[in-house]
Structure formats: C-alpha cells, structure tokens
C-alpha cells in the first residue's frame, strides 16, 4: 500500500480547488457578481455537484474571510515572538509581517476588506471579532513602543489604523510582477511606520 495517504485526497482536493476558484472569481468580479455556475465551470463541475463539497455560496465566502483573519493573526503573533525582545523591534516585525501578508495574499485580503456586507450577521460578527483582535494587537504594540522609548505618539489608535490602512491599500495594487522587490517594499513601510511614531530611523 504505497499510497495510503491518497485515501483522503480526492474530496479534499476538490474542496480546495473550489475554494481557490472562488477566491479568484470573488476577487475579479466581486461576491455578488460571481455565480456558483461560474465557480463550478472553473473546476469542471456542474452547479449541483458543488453542494457535495460546500453548504452554499455564503459558506464559501465566510470560509475565505475567516481563515484569512486566522492566518493574519497567527502570522503576526509568530513574527512578534520571533523578534528581538524590544518594543520597537516587535512593532517593526509586526508591521513588516502585516505588509508582507497583504502583498502575498492580496486577493484573499482584498475580498476580506470588501465583502463584509455580504455576510449574514453570524459570520459578520465572527470576522469583526477577529478584526477587532487584530487592531488591538497593533494598538498594544504602539503603546508599548511609546512606553519603552518615550516616543511622542500623537494618537495610538490612529497610528494603528494607519498601519492597517497601508496593508489594505497594498492589497489593492501589489502584483508580484511589479518592479520593486517585496523585501524592499516591506522595508519602506516599516520605516514609514517608525517615522510616524516620531522616532528616528533605526
């Protein structure tokens, strides 16, 4: 039995393909303008067959939006923990991870930032809760930098919002084929974020 792992692949693989097709179409056309027939065609299925893998159109969207927030939270937490144990280094790591994720997952993040309205109350609450958690993560980091360095932070909340705004914007224009290297881009945004705190470049 050299291929025992294959036992579970068929269904899971199809499910993943459907999700990827949904990300692509939701990004290109928007959730409302995307038909399940379009999603099905993308993975060579008929509409009815989709229902062997998903519970409905909105489930597909909720899945994408919730998992993108989970990934973001995990990534930034990991980046912060891996950084040097100073408040500024941790903040820089968080900003860098935030920008990098938004560039590398531009489609998913863009969907996450534009289709909140299409979720029912239950799913919307779930996503909003995770977003609030993400915001608070940055807010705490900003406040720690201020406490540890004495930086003259004008408004910690706007400061955190500023970083979130840059990420959202990056996800709307970044393409891997662009002229700038991603490392350089991330570095630029980190410098801007540090400057905004009123600190000299490190």
């Amino acid at each position: 039995m050299p291929r025992a792992t294959r036992l579970t692949t068929g269904g899971a693989r199809t499910r993943k393909s459907i999700r990827e097709a949904a990300v692509k179409l939701f990004y290109e056309q928007g959730y409302e303008a995307t038909s399940l027939r379009g999603v099905a065609a993308e993975v060579d299925l008929q509409v009815g067959s989709l229902y062997n893998h998903i519970n409905g159109k909105e489930d597909l969207l909720a899945d994408i939006m919730i998992s993108v927030m989970d990934e973001l939270l995990d990534s930034v937490h990991d980046a912060v923990e891996a950084a040097e144990p100073t408040a500024l280094a941790r903040y820089e790591a968080a900003v860098g991870c935030h920008i990098r994720y938004h560039a590398e997952h531009a489609q998913q993040v863009f969907i996450g930032n534009s289709e909140l309205r299409s979720l029912n109350e239950d799913n919307r609450t779930k996503v909003l809760t995770k977003r609030a958690e993400y915001e608070n993560l940055f807010l705490r980091l900003v406040k720690k930098v201020a406490a540890e360095t004495g930086a003259d932070v004008i408004d910690p909340k706007i400061q955190a919002y500023s970083v979130l705004a840059q990420g959202a914007h990056v996800s709307s224009w970044y393409r891997p084929s662009g002229p700038k290297s991603l490392d350089k881009l991330v570095g630029t945004y980190i410098k801007l974020a540090v400057r905004e705190l009123g600190l000299p470049a490190s």
Copy 2:
C-alpha cells in the same frame, strides 16, 4: 410670479433624490446587491419611472464615481492654491483636504473605492484616468517638498500612496457622531504625513 425658479425644479429634484438614494443603497448593500426596485422604492417611484431620469443602473454608478473624483480634484487644487506658497504648506493643505473630504463624503468615496469592477470599460477608464491624475498631484507635491526642504523621502510614490491609503481607510470607519472632532482628526493625519517625510513637526 413669485416662484419662477420652480420651473426647473421638479425634474432636477427627482434626479437628485434618485442619486442620493443610490448612494445610500450602494454604500449599504453594494452596487450588485442593490436593485433598481429598491432605489425606486426609496424615492416613492416604480421601476419603470426611474427611466425618465436615468439611462440605466450603471449610469447611476458612473455618475457617482466620476463626480466624486471631480470634486476631490477641485477641492485639493483649491486647497493647495489657498495655502502659503511653500511646498510643505501646500502639501499639508492637500493632505488635510484629502482627509476631510474622505470623512465628509465617506459614502460616496467608499463606493468610488470599491465598485470599480462594476463599471464597463469606458466608464472605468474615465475614473481610472482621474485617479491617476489625483495620485500624480500628490506625487508632485511630495517631490516638491523634498526638493525645497531637503527632506529624506524614502520613496515618493509609496509616500503618496500612504496618504491615499489613509483617506480610503477613513472613509470606511468615519462617522460624524464619533468622539473626535473632524478638525483634530485632520490635524493628526497631517502630522503623520509630515513625519513620514522625515521632517520635524512644524
């Protein structure tokens, strides 16, 4: 004839009401999820009657998106010309006007930033051209500040993008009922923008 001005009001007033209803519903539900029946109901008309005032659903959207860009361009141009004739003062005026407009017209701007996909090629090109013009306006201002003050601007394009990103973000959360006064908010964003240029607060 004490009400001669009324001669032209009837039709124009209805047209304006329809547009305002469309802004409200496009903002709340998104363009695709909004039906012309919903728009009609909002102004106490039947669907068919809308066509005495508009050419179709997309015309309504294109109108909103194009006029928001025209207003933005005019406002910022005016603000720049009214400012003290130093590059930094002009830049500060532009950033302040940008943020203020995005707060005061949050719904229209939010539509402008999220429904590009729903326009046909012709209208999309019109809007994108105006957006490019708007971006260039900020890019030139940043470069002038750098030239005049010797500021160490890391990347003028990203710098301009940063300001645009803040505006888009503000339009997604700002409510007039919020705790912060608009003047104070605008002031905060101006300070952040100046700091990003590597200049001390003025």
